[in-house]
């Protein structure tokens, strides 16, 4: 793919993770975070008149497109102090988030307590990629797409596979995935990988340490493809490349890898659940004592793709 020119427009898909229970525990209130995100979005729209924007919001229950708004959305209020282009986006985002939260709180009680902070990003990511694909096919001009995930919740191990598929799809499409972990204590392992693989930026905003979300957004996530070639951006220092096993959705340091389809398992299984390959248990067992129970190190996804080093044997 050729390099971005200064005059090329960008297409930014913002994915807002508005999982209420995740935000409830964070030092930064959801309202403040939204306000700051909207300033960031206004700044993005101000950069270039041809810049395009899509905003998605994701709760535990559903994922909705907030902007471009559907035509039957409530009429915008007459606030003449705001630049018209900004207002349409701002109103759509705020009212959309409000509607989503109220519908989410109605069904929130059914959610399992332990999963309440899990955020389901894979759905939003695939929706974002669909938007990008659609806009790409409808224009001839060079538009450089990227996704910004404003994440709050904890990784849901259950969606590892679908998320990874989304990440690889983004990589193939040349879509950068930027991740701003705005709330929550730990890093998101999955999203770190998403940023790393697609060439985006992963940053965790630590509100307790006095980081400003807005400053981080404007400083690190506003730069388009062209600017990223000119300026340095805060990099991904350490990325946790651990994978999740396909059988129990646990994050594993060491596991088994199918030699045919590279699926990862935390326990030895006679048949690969993904590609139905039968393994020769005998030979695997024979090796086992020598390897002291360790069969294979789950390597980074990218390494896995290039080198197929496995010890599970094929019948």
């Amino acid at each position: 793919m050729s390099e971005a020119l200064e005059s090329d427009a960008s297409l930014l898909v913002v994915v807002l993770d508005i999982n209420a229970s995740a935000w409830a525990r964070s030092a930064l209130a959801l309202d403040d975070a939204l306000q700051q995100t909207i300033i960031f979005i206004n700044a993005y729209l101000a950069l270039k008149p041809s810049n395009q924007l899509v905003v998605l919001a994701s709760t535990r229950q559903e994922c909705r497109t907030l902007y471009p708004a559907e035509p039957n959305s409530p009429a915008s209020s007459e606030d003449i102090r705001v630049y018209e282009q900004f207002r349409a986006a701002d109103v759509a985002i705020l009212s959309g988030v409000r509607a989503l939260l109220s519908s989410a709180s109605a069904s929130a009680d059914q959610a399992h307590d332990s999963d309440a902070e899990h955020s389901l990003i894979s759905r939003a990511l695939s929706k974002a990629l669909c938007h990008i694909n659609q806009m790409r096919s409808s224009t001839l001009d060079a538009v450089w797409p990227r996704v910004l995930v404003l994440s709050a919740g904890v990784d849901a191990a259950a969606e590892y596979i679908s998320l990874m598929n989304g990440i690889f799809a983004a990589q193939r499409m040349g879509v950068l995935i930027d991740v701003c972990k705005a709330a929550g204590s730990g890093d998101s392992v999955f999203l770190q990988q998403a940023a790393e693989i697609s060439g985006g930026v992963y940053l965790r905003v630590d509100a307790r340490a006095g980081w400003s979300l807005l400053q981080t957004l404007l400083f690190s996530f506003l730069a388009d493809h062209y600017t990223r070639r000119v300026l340095y951006l805060p990099g991904n220092e350490r990325t946790d490349f651990r994978a999740t096993c396909f059988c129990h959705k646990r994050i594993v340091d060491i596991g088994y890898v199918c030699s045919v389809c590279l699926s990862i398992f935390c326990r030895l299984a006679p048949v690969c659940s993904t590609c139905q390959t039968r393994f020769s248990i005998r030979s695997a067992r024979a090796e086992r004592p020598a390897a002291n129970g360790v069969q294979s190190t789950a390597r980074t996804i990218s390494q896995q793709l290039s080198t197929t080093s496995t010890t599970s044997t094929l019948v």
Binding site: A46, S76, E84, D90, S138, T227, L231
Partner: protein, 513 residues
């Protein structure tokens, strides 16, 4: 965005740079102006500003320069320098900070705080009997603008029914040297006028606005007021009526003059209101660029004019759900595509040009550098010939301008291929330009019919000493010398002749003796 538009943006930036600091402070006091200025900056400059927008304390200049990747150090340095010239960035003992006023007002622009009416005062459309439609606005603007362009190409006699350009328009055309006065009342297009014609509308409007500023300066109007008002105008929303009540007298006068260019539509009924047209709103915002295409009726399935009371974003997409999304995505992309959307020119490898247009203006502009062969009801054909291109070149139009014009207006069918224009044609146009530039005219004198070989050689040697020979042929005894060389040589030959005559006379005397 074409290169020419970039040029003009940089010139308006240059204009801002030339303002003294107290002036720019006053310009910055308006959020709309800050936003418009921000949009005129380079991408890197914008990123630098945004990085510092919410910083409260100054940071080291060195630190800013360390943001740049090594191979782009110089770019960033020059951008920082430009920001400082614009008084946006303030340097103090190696530390930099955004100008406090600019920072506050740009924040206001992004957050919607601050001055109440900086983005114009829209009026309610309750008491308007005849609502202004977007299509009507576009038609009005295009008619006005084309009338001026017509006037410039001298095609005004046709269906526009004689030219009645207002005094201010004439003055700006003269002032900007796009046209020059001829005789008592007539006007003639200049070389820069020809170049102007080939630019896209955005660049043309910027040129006019810049000239307007210069003129305002000459008339001793308050430049800051004019600037602020201009920046406010470019941030208005298309299709919305704005009240003229809060405006000062100067601003009303400006509105009237801008209306002559088709940048504004004035509605005097009911207290007075004005509507910005797509020509001014598309200067810094993408919304509205597609409206002219809509008027052309090239977008199928778009039903008629939209009512004026709808803002264009609300008026977009009447379908439901995902279809509306797709439609709005399409619409946005077609806004981006606006130049190609209107594309009508097909260029073949054999230099033939087919233009699907019936607009006399477009035909007249094509006629500047295409030899038009035949004209049909909906399209014209022509050939790019050496003489037609040379004629354009002699008007000061450059090869790049012709190529840019052809490629920005290329027919959608041609847009798919890269490069858009056949390489043979672009190369040929460039070659013709080179050919023309390779010929220099120098006034000179040709010496011929020398009186024998020794005479020629004597003059030749003398000219060689003076280094004034343009060209010479030993065999045919021809000598071409430059103008000042001629004076010296003729003096020299006179002297030689006199000497010869003296000698001859002496010889004759001797013979007689």
């Amino acid at each position: 965005m074409s290169a020419s538009e970039e040029d003009f943006k940089s010139t308006i930036a240059e204009y801002l740079e030339s303002l003294p600091e107290q002036f720019s402070r006053r310009v910055f006091s308006n959020p709309a102006a800050c936003l418009a200025i921000f949009r005129l900056l380079s991408t890197v400059g914008k990123q630098l500003i945004m990085s510092m927008l919410y910083l409260e304390s100054p940071i080291k200049l060195q630190e800013v320069q360390q943001w740049a990747r090594p191979e782009h150090q110089r770019t960033v340095k020059s951008k920082v320098h430009q920001l400082r010239k614009l008084h946006i960035l303030v340097e103090d003992r190696g530390q930099v900070l955004l100008n406090a006023i600019f920072r506050e007002q740009l924040r206001n622009a992004l957050t919607g705080g601050g001055d109440f009416s900086s983005f114009g005062t829209p009026c309610s459309d309750g008491n308007v009997r005849v609502p202004v439609t977007l299509a009507g606005l576009a038609k009005y603007a295009d008619e006005r603008w084309e009338k001026i362009l017509h006037f410039m190409v001298g095609q005004s006699g046709g269906e526009t029914g004689g030219v009645a350009l207002s005094e201010s328009v004439r003055r700006i055309l003269l002032e900007s040297k796009l046209m020059e006065a001829e005789g008592s009342k007539g006007m003639r297009i200049t070389n820069s006028g020809f170049q102007f014609l080939l630019q896209d509308v955005g660049a043309q409007v910027w040129t006019v606005l810049l000239q307007y500023l210069r003129l305002a300066e000459k008339q001793e109007m308050d430049v800051v007021e004019v600037l602020n008002f201009l920046f406010q105008l470019v941030s208005l929303q298309l299709g919305r009526g704005y009240s003229t009540e809060a405006l000062t007298r100067n601003q009303r006068k400006m509105l009237g003059e801008l209306a002559d260019f088709g940048l504004m539509y004035l509605d005097e009924r009911g207290g007075g209101r004005f509507y910005p047209t797509h020509m001014v709103t598309s200067l810094t915002s993408a919304a509205g660029a597609g409206e002219s295409a809509e008027r052309d009726g090239r977008r199928p399935g778009d039903s008629g004019p939209l009512a004026g009371d709808e803002s264009s974003s609300a008026g977009r997409g009447r379908a439901n759900g995902s279809r509306a999304l797709a439609a709005s995505a399409k619409q946005r992309s077609s806004e981006l595509l606006s130049p190609s959307d209107k594309g009508y020119i097909v260029v073949e490898t054999n230099c033939r040009v087919y233009a699907y247009t019936d607009s006399p203006l477009q035909i007249a502009i094509l006629n500047l550098f295409v030899h038009l062969v035949s004209r049909f009801s909906n399209f014209v054909t022509g050939v790019l010939t050496r003489s037609s291109v040379r004629r354009a070149l002699s008007h000061g139009i450059t090869a790049d301008q012709m190529i840019a014009f052809l490629s920005t207006h290329a027919h959608p069918q041609m847009q798919g291929s890269t490069p858009v224009l056949p390489v043979t044609v672009t190369d040929q146009i460039r070659l013709w330009e080179k050919e023309k530039n390779s010929l220099h005219q120098t006034e000179s004198f040709l010496y011929r019919e020398f009186n024998g070989r020794p005479a020629f050689e004597r003059v030749y040697r003398y000219a060689q000493e003076l280094n004034v020979i343009q060209w010479a042929s030993m065999e045919r005894q021809l000598l071409l010398v430059s103008l000042q060389g001629h004076a010296m040589i003729s003096e020299h030959t006179k002297k030689v002749k006199e000497q010869q005559e003296k000698q001859q006379r002496q010889q004759q005397q001797r013979v007689q003796q």
